[in-house]
Amino acid sequence: MIIQLIISGLAIGSVYSLVALAHSLIWSGVRAVNFAQGEVFMAAAFVALTALSGAGRLPALPFGAAVLVGVVAASLIGLVIYNVAIRTTSKKGFLYALGACIGFSTLLQSSAILIWGSTGEQFPAQISMVPLRVGSIFIAPQDLFIMGISLTAMIILYFFLSKTRLGTAMRAAAQNREVAGLMGISHRLTDSLTFMVASCLAGLAGILLAPKFFVTPQMGSMISSKGFTAAVLGGFGSIPGAVLGGLLLGVLENISAGLISSSYKDAISFLIMVLIIMFKPEGLLGVKGGRKA
């Protein structure tokens, strides 16, 4: 029973990890927070769904292509959010960036309602729903699928950041923006890139989670806040921390829902957030006394 809870917790946790990675990448790279991340997540799910089922004269695409379309759409939205909401307000202060991002999240939600309606749609399952049986444990193939894709995405991210020139430049800019400029690394390039990569991750998370739940215009807000909790739990701005925080949050949530009561499941995330901020603000893997959030 408990192992089963842990495994399905890891599946949802890996999605949290992707969203947390998006938050942490943006924080460490651009010193900004995208409070519209949840809506990027939602928009990608809708776009992928539309691509999958076809719309008007556009043919229905296979699942892989639909994922690609959704992720690309997400990264473009991220690019727009950076250039309109973040860059323009960077000198005015955090409050304005926050306000502009929230404006974007409202904009994306209401656009989604306009295009796809407010009731939401079912995302067709891509994987057999018949649970696998290993010993006495039942595992949903879909959970394995989610974990597998998330893991792949994380490995690709790792290679991008550590092995490519642009990825290294992004990390360099995250560590010291000024000096990165002295290396000839343009801030606009790395900042835009960071937002696009982060939005890809958030978008992928949305598409992965879509078949598990209904796709609705409101699906993003809760996920975004879970992503924040996961990122803070692991250490805000830390890449491995985001992965760990997401998995841990998924498992903790699932276990408490399974063993105690599912009605307070969402409160767990908020409670973890408050406790971590109060007692271990640097998170599990963050650096103590590091840069202030």
């Binding site: 020139r165 290294t168 430049a169 990390r171 360099a172 560590q175 010291n176 000024e178 000096v179 990165a180 400029g181 002295l182 290396m183 000839g184 690394i185 343009s186 801030h187």
Partner: protein, 519 residues
């Protein structure tokens, strides 16, 4: 009245304040000096409760205040100003001072909400008190001006007034004269004397030596967190340890003489009068700076700086902390924009270009504090230097070249930049700059925080780079070391170029010492 015993403050591995004893008598004006990074401001932070001491004890008027909170100590009678002006910008001058005048008043929430007569009377008294302070200082005319709208010198005075309004027994002034013009400094000296005469004990951190030597009865000198000397101004000025801590020691042994180093270049334009660069044949100059003026906010840091450098030259720019050396390099390299003046690089106007565009022209700046990317490996750091280049083969060759220059970096190529020692980080920063294929290299304080042996090593490499034909502009606080390697030297004093000459001559010039320690 203030008794500090064995005070120590560590930040991680760094000892910022090292076992300091200090006694300040009631009614004294005490000067606190020392080169950059010697722990003066940290010392203030400890006394005023903004930092907690690692060990040691602070006694103030007979009571132990080692563990006091900043706001609690303000109420006990310790007021301070800040190195970087920190006014309440959105408030008027009067409001700024009134906020401090209410230091000893209770909040009186309900009375304030209802506006009872007693609280109104009290509020009026607070405002009057603030107004009296403004009159005492002589800035009552500006009471209704927005604090941020005032010129810089006046903002400093407002900050002092605000501190005074808490009616302190001890006033800590952190570089109050920074950014002031000579008249303002004169007024400041007079003001501090009057404050002192009204019964306030003053401790003052100041880089303007003439000012602090004239003001304080006793001077305490700190160097890398320790007290190295204490005494009358004249004693301190003559103390060899003090001179060494400011001007640096030794220098690299081998000294080359270059053909054109001995003859005056005539490129330096001390007067700042603008000249037509074309008339002087700008083509032969790799860098020519023309009446450059740079500001931080309202502070004019560079005042009509003009100079020129020829291709292949090795020039040292020296001057005390706060003279504007780093600002000059930051302006040239595009990290900040000048308010007026021009920077020509190989005849092209690069004034106001962003730093990544300037880097593309092979003008490379190695910043103060090295700027190593701590979480990138040594090799990744070096490769970032070559970010804009796409000639893979040549990059590989250059990497080997840098590893040849600094074999230690080769051994540590996979180690994280942040795990290197200070000297290794400096080598990495220079190596990274070499990877950018510089034509002109700007080096900012490469000796800072390094042991003398490492300083020699770093400077020797810089000399080798120069011997291979690189043009170098070196900025150094450690004047002796810098002048021992460079051909030509400029001396910068509070934003102006005041001397230039062949390095060997400047080395023994008493005027250089005066620029650091006052005359």
């Amino acid at each position: 009245m203030l008794r500090v015993q064995n005070l120590t403050k560590r930040f991680g591995g760094l000892v910022a304040v090292d076992n300091i004893d200090l006694h300040v008598r009631e009614g004294e004006i005490r000067g606190l000096i020392g080169p950059n990074g010697s722990g003066k401001t940290t010392f203030f932070n400890l006394i005023s409760g903004f930092d907690r001491a690692t060990s040691g004890k602070i006694e103030f008027m007979g009571s132990d205040i080692t563990a006091g909170s900043a706001h609690g100590l303000a109420r006990k009678g310790i007021a301070r100003t800040f190195q970087h002006i920190d006014l309440f910008k959105g408030m008027t001058v009067l409001e700024n001072v009134t906020a401090a005048a209410q230091c000893h008043a209770r909040p009186r929430f309900w009375s304030s909400l209802l506006g009872t007569p007693s609280v109104r009377k009290e509020d009026q008294a607070l405002r009057n008190l603030a107004m009296e302070q403004l009159e005492f200082v002589g800035i009552a005319d500006h009471a209704d001006d927005l604090a941020s709208s005032l010129p810089y010198g006046l903002q400093r005075i407002v900050e002092i007034t605000r501190a005074l309004a808490t009616r302190p027994a001890l006033l800590l002034l952190d570089e109050p004269a920074a950014g002031m013009n000579p008249t303002e400094k004169q007024d400041l000296v007079e003001l501090v004397r009057r404050i002192n005469a009204s019964g306030v004990t003053v401790i003052i951190i100041e880089h303007d030596m003439r000012l602090v030597m004239g003001l304080a009865e006793t001077i305490t000198v700190l160097d890398s967190g320790s007290k190295i000397c204490e005494g009358l101004p004249a004693e301190v000025q003559g103390n060899p340890r003090v001179i060494e801590s400011y001007l640096g020691s030794g220098g690299v042994g081998k000294k080359q003489t270059h053909a054109y180093a001995a003859e005056p270049s005539g490129a330096l334009d001390v007067s700042g009068a603008s000249q037509n660069p074309a008339a002087k044949g700008q083509d032969s100059f790799i860098l020519s700076v023309d009446s450059l003026n740079s500001y931080y906010g309202n502070v004019r840091v560079l005042k009509d700086i003009s100079f020129k450098m020829r291709e292949g030259e090795f020039t040292a720019l020296i001057g005390a902390n706060g003279a504007g050396k780093t600002t000059l390099l930051r302006t040239i390299s595009g990290m900040m924009s000048p308010r007026s003046g021009r920077v020509l690089y190989k005849g092209e106007d690069i004034t106001g270009l962003s730093s990544d565009r300037i880097v593309a022209r092979n003008l490379i700046y190695v910043p103060e504090g090295r700027g190593v990317f701590p979480a990138l490996s040594v090799q990744e750091n070096l490769m970032m230097g070559a970010f804009r280049r796409s000639d893979k083969e040549a990059i590989k060759e250059d990497l080997e070249y840098v590893f040849g220059l600094f074999p230690r970096l080769k051994d540590r190529r996979n180690q994280k930049g942040g795990s290197l020692s200070g000297g290794e980080q400096q080598m990495l920063a220079i190596g990274r700059a070499v990877m950018s294929r510089p034509r002109l290299l700007l080096l900012d304080e490469p000796s800072m925080g390094l042991a003398p042996k490492l300083v020699d090593e770093v400077f020797e490499t810089v000399m080798n780079l120069h011997d291979e034909g690189l043009t170098i502009l070196l900025v150094e606080q450690n004047a002796r070391a810098a002048l021992s390697v460079a051909e030509r030297g400029f001396v910068l004093e509070v934003g102006s170029l005041v001397h230039e000459g062949p390095a060997a001559q400047l080395c023994d010039d008493p005027a250089v010492k005066a620029a650091y320690l006052g005359g």
